[in-house]
């Protein structure tokens, strides 16, 4: 496969290794077939594409939230196909961080509690978990506001919390689905910069689904998902 070559550019053991992925939606339409993707540690990959082409489905498949019809996905060397729902859940809890378009911050928890949630879900104790959450809060520029509730925050601030939550437990892979889709362009740019900076700082790999050219430009790689699968996007501008 000629197109496969650029996708396997890195030689280090990939954090995410997708091979021959096939998925059909209910009703029979095949979204993709024989799709391959490898993401190396620390690499940020942007995935673009038109609406309905299956970008979110791809993310869900990677997260183990949807079942695949063929091929294989391995995260940090663990093949998802061999895992049951519980094991996938644990894998998600320990190795993956999420950023959503709609933030999904729990309204009745404080900012710190929201950020600490992945740690607490893994059985972390209260004080160290909250301390790490407080530290993350500082990194996303909201230091000192850990006791506030989400209702007091703007959209951009909510997404900062989401980024902090995605990184707080030191995941190997960050999945972000249109992280700036609900934000005004100015805020979007700042949030994107923050996300990339924090991902880079943490050493995690990231897959970001986005419509934003700017986001694609700052990514290590930008891929386009189309009817025929993933293809490398020509770098736009000076990136």
């Amino acid at each position: 496969m000629a197109k496969a070559d650029p996708l396997l550019r890195q030689s280090a053991a990939p954090v995410l290794d997708v091979r021959g992925l096939t998925k059909a939606v209910p009703g029979g339409r095949v979204l993709f077939s024989g799709l391959d993707l490898a993401v190396a540690p620390g690499e940020v990959v942007a995935i673009m594409g038109e609406s309905g082409v299956g970008k979110s489905t791809l993310l869900n498949l990677i997260a183990g939230l949807d079942s695949l019809d063929g091929g294989e996905i391995a995260i940090a060397g663990a093949g998802l196909a061999a895992l049951d729902d519980d094991a996938r859940t644990l894998l998600r809890r320990d190795r993956i961080g999420f950023v959503f378009q709609a933030f999904h911050i729990l309204p009745h928890l404080t900012l710190c509690q929201n950020i600490a949630l992945p740690l607490v879900l893994a059985g972390g104790a209260r004080t160290p978990s909250l301390a790490r959450a407080e530290a993350m809060l500082g990194k996303v520029g909201l230091g000192g506001r850990g006791g506030d509730y989400p209702a007091q925050l703007s959209g951009g601030e909510l997404q900062r919390i989401a980024i902090a939550r995605a990184l707080v437990h030191g995941p190997a892979l960050i999945l972000a689905d249109e992280p700036t889709g609900n934000l005004d362009p100015e805020t979007a740019e700042r949030i994107l910069a923050l996300l990339l900076a924090e991902v880079k700082a943490s050493g995690a790999a990231a897959v970001i689904v986005t419509h934003s050219d700017r986001a694609a430009a700052v990514a290590d790689r930008a891929l386009v998902l189309g009817r025929s699968g993933l293809s490398e996007r020509a770098p736009a501008g000076g990136g």
Binding site: R93, H104, P118
Partner: protein
């Protein structure tokens, strides 16, 4: 890591999530817990009162019995021949035998008795004892002379010893004179002292046995022999030897058989009350279910997020169930405390039998039973957990990815709700209703009701669609059209809101139909059995009433057209069952149904046989049908009589047998009468005739004879009926209130959850009033659907109550009658309550900024 292995949510996470949710919606938590609390409280209170009443009843029995090891009882108040006494005393293994004359007495200062069978205050159990024998067999029945030990042993024929309860009932003190009437004889005594060992509950008087026999017409007769067994004697062997010498009109009674009898006396009534209380708990369970369902639906996004962040399915289920459990725990705790208070109140206001009339004598002392409290608390928690389980599983099954994207309820209007689970449950309920009683109780009948209820609720989504479908075809203003479409499109959500209302409505309807049918049938029956103008009843005359001379004198009273004299006496046919009432009255052999409410046609009596007409409960209890024979243990010997017919009777739950006067006198040798039905001659005044009759009564009977007219008797009977169902009404009302609260909370929660939808509608130009209109319509429609379903279900359940539960518990049948007025009121109340709540909640939802509502994610 421990959390790695366990399925549960780490405790810290659970605390954050649960407490966070509750802080956000405290009212919902409070109402859920309250629903459980009310259910637990009712169940516990009813249980507590029943148990307390039964305890005090048992205590009363053991008080009268003086805790003998074994007793011989007469099968009728006439007792048995005293010649049995030396035989019993000489049996090997018998260390002491104490002969007893036992009579139902009234103290004569009580005034003219009311025509009221439940009036136990004037009643005293009069015991004639041989104090020298009783001292070693039943020492608690030996009086403490007031002048200190050493004085008067009870041989003094003038001395009477009273229990504290009897002193209280008569308002006398030691040293006073007391006049007692029993078995048609009156006699006065000096109160010589107190029965210190007789407890506080039982009105008891003890005199010397010789005087009791002589002065109260019991010469040669005993009603009881108390037996103390020798140390180390084999009780079973003594019983066996005793049985061998027992005459046919006496039986052996042990503490065991006595307890069983007192238990069977009120068992059905108690079980019914407890079941009713459980119904309240069940309704509370539905409320928790709908609250939890809503809460889960509302939090579907939140749960999806948690799943994505790494919360396992089981942990999610565990979290929702734990929420329910905590809710149940709080509710149960409050419920136990509330139940105790409620029981205390009920005992104070209604008496130990909650108005059922089963424990006419004695006072009740409430005690706190820790084990029962624990059991009821566990029941409350169990109901709450079970009610949370279904929503919890629904939450865990949801696809997190889908749930995260979609907001609100993601129902697809094209999907048909399943009908078979509901129908299967309904069918199972129908089958269960056909089952026989278990352990003498209609347990399968109750199971049938529970299954019908569950089936009805499970069928609600399907039913709601079916009921709404015809409305969809018509043209409606946009607000109503929107409401209809939403209800039709999201039947699951509608069903959640409806289950509480359907459950409580159907239970209320079932109870109401049963009670109305019962009351109507009783009323008809009273008209049928009370055809005469005046009724006369000699109170406490089980062992003797109006003799032949008195009868002749009464019959000759001017103004009397005709008199039917009746003799009634209790007769014990089985040691485990309470006595049946044997009555002798004029029966027209050609038309027995003339003065008896016969069910079906009488069977021709074979030549040479004695015709007996049994009551409906008697037939059930003893397995008798027309054409059978029944053997009566009478003073004249065992008498076999032919069952010629069955008559309807609501008065004597444990059976009654009617013989023609001539047969009765021939078989019992007893020509005295205890009551009379009098028709006045044309033109005579009922009150004048009553006065004349009273004047012609023998002096000693005048004070214990009551006169009544059918109207009074009917009014009184229905008053007793209503009193005994008062608790039933109260329990029903509470079930309905719980149901209404459920509707209110569910509606308001659902409405508030749709704030975004309203915001969007406002954006596209729907007027505020139109939204309110839409909500009111939705509410009313939902209420209507609920009431219709509840009515249907309730009518089905009423049939189970009428045709299964009642015959199996109380052994009588009734004809179905429908309380239309109540139905109408119910429909109006529920529909307006549902619409009203929807509007109120809608106002709140609309007050929020519409623009912000659209942008809001949660």
């Amino acid at each position: 890591m421990a959390a790695e292995a366990s399925a549960a949510l780490p405790p810290l996470a659970a605390r954050w999530l649960v407490l966070g949710e509750w802080r956000a919606h405290p009212a919902r938590v409070i109402i859920g817990a309250l629903a459980i609390a009310v259910g637990v409280a009712l169940g516990f209170a009813v249980h507590l009162v029943n148990r307390t009443a039964l305890d005090s009843f048992a205590r009363a029995i053991s008080t009268v019995n003086g805790a003998a090891d074994l007793q011989v009882h007469g099968l009728t108040p006439a007792g048995f021949d005293e010649a049995l006494y030396p035989k019993v005393a000489r049996l090997p293994g018998v260390a002491g035998a104490s002969p007893v004359v036992s009579l139902a007495a009234r103290h004569s200062d009580a005034g003219t008795p009311e025509f009221n069978a439940g009036n136990g205050r004037q009643r005293i159990t009069l015991l004639g004892l041989d104090g020298l024998r009783a001292a070693s067999v039943t020492p608690s029945l030996i009086g403490m002379p007031i002048n200190g030990p050493g004085r008067a042993s009870g041989l003094d024929p003038d001395a009477i010893f009273l229990s504290r309860a009897a002193l209280a009932a008569t308002g006398k003190k030691p040293g006073d004179r007391l006049s007692l009437t029993a078995a048609g004889h009156s006699r006065s005594f000096t109160i010589a002292g107190v029965l210190a060992g007789a407890g506080e509950d039982q009105a008891l008087a003890v005199i010397d046995i010789a005087d009791a026999q002589w002065r109260f017409g019991q010469l040669g007769r005993l009603q009881r022999i108390d037996v103390r067994l020798a140390e180390g004697a084999d009780a079973a062997r003594v019983e066996q030897a005793l049985a061998a010498i027992l005459p046919h009109d006496a039986e052996i009674v042990t503490a065991r058989s006595e307890a069983q009898r007192s238990d069977s006396l009120s068992r059905a009534y108690r079980v019914n009350l407890e079941m009713l209380a459980m119904v309240a708990l069940l309704t509370g369970g539905f409320l928790v279910f709908s609250a939890q369902s809503l809460s889960v639906a509302r939090r579907s996004g939140q749960f999806a997020l948690l799943r994505v962040l790494g919360l396992r399915r089981r942990a999610l289920v565990a979290q929702v169930v734990a929420e329910g459990a905590v809710l149940g725990l709080i509710g149960a705790g409050v419920g136990i405390a509330l139940g105790y208070g409620l029981a205390d109140l009920a005992v104070t206001l209604l008496g130990g039998d909650l108005g059922g009339g089963y424990f006419p004598e004695g006072t009740v002392h409430l005690r706190f039973p820790p084990l029962a409290a624990l059991a009821f608390a566990a029941l409350g928690v169990g109901v709450a957990v079970l009610s949370s389980l279904l929503p919890a599983r629904a939450a865990a099954r949801a696809q997190p990815a889908v749930a995260l994207k979609a907001s609100g309820d993601a129902t697809d209007p094209r999907r048909q709700p399943r009908s078979w689970p509901g129908l299967a449950l309904l069918a199972a309920g129908g089958l269960a209703a056909l089952g026989p009683p278990l352990f003498g109780l209609p347990l399968l009948g109750y199971a049938a009701m529970a299954l019908l209820l569950a089936g009805g609720v499970a069928a609600m989504p399907f039913l709601a669609r079916m009921l709404l479908a015809p409305l969809l075809r018509a043209e409606w203003p946009p607000a109503i059209d929107l409401a209809l479409k939403r209800l039709w499109g999201a039947p699951g959500a509608a069903a959640v809101a409806l289950c509480g209302i359907v459950a409580s409505t159907s239970l209320m309807v079932a109870m109401a139909v049963m009670v109305t049918s019962f009351r109507g049938s009783v009323d008809d029956w009273l008209v049928q059995i009370l055809p005469s103008d005046i009724y006369l009843h000699v109170e406490g005359a089980e062992a003797g009433g109006l003799d032949m001379a008195a009868q002749a004198r009464l019959a000759a009273t001017p103004g009397v057209g005709s008199v039917h004299f009746v003799r009634q006496m209790p007769l014990r046919l089985s040691p485990e069952l309470p006595a049946v009432i044997l009555s002798g009255q004029p029966v027209n052999a050609a038309d027995p149904g003339a003065r008896m409410p016969l069910l079906g046609d009488p069977v021709p009596v074979p030549a040479g046989e004695t015709a007996a007409y049994i009551s409906e409960p008697m037939g059930w209890l003893y397995g008798l049908a027309p054409g059978d024979h029944v053997t009566l243990p009478l003073a004249s010997g065992k008498q076999r009589v032919f069952v010629a017919g069955v008559w309807r009777d609501y008065a004597r739950q444990f059976g009654a047998i009617t013989l023609d006067t001539a047969d009765f006198e021939r078989l019992t040798g007893d020509a005295s009468k205890t009551e009379a039905a009098i028709d006045v001659a044309p033109g005579a005044s009922v009150s004048a005739v009553t006065d004349a009759l009273r004047a012609r009564l023998p002096d000693q009977l005048r004070s214990q004879t009551m006169f009544a007219q059918p109207r009074q008797m009917r009014a009184m009977a229905l008053r007793i009926f209503d009193r005994s169902f008062a608790v039933t009404y109260a329990l029903e009302a509470i079930a309905i209130i719980i149901g209404l609260i459920g509707v209110a909370t569910t509606f308001s929660a659902q409405t508030l959850a749709r704030a975004r939808e309203f915001g969007m509608l406002r954006h596209i130009g729907v007027k505020r009033r139109q939204i309110m209109m839409m909500l009111a319509t939705e509410g009313a429609l939902l209420g209507l659907v609920g009431v219709i379903a509840g009515l249907g279900l309730g009518l089905m359940m009423a049939q189970v109550l009428i045709h299964v539960v009642n015959p199996q518990s109380f052994h009588w049948t009734m004809d179905t009658r429908l309380p239309w007025g109540l139905f109408a009121g119910l429909v109006a109340a529920l529909v307006s309550a549902a619409a009203g709540t929807a509007v109120l909640a809608g106002r709140k939802a609309l007050s929020a900024d519409a623009v912000r509502a659209v942008r809001q994610d949660w």
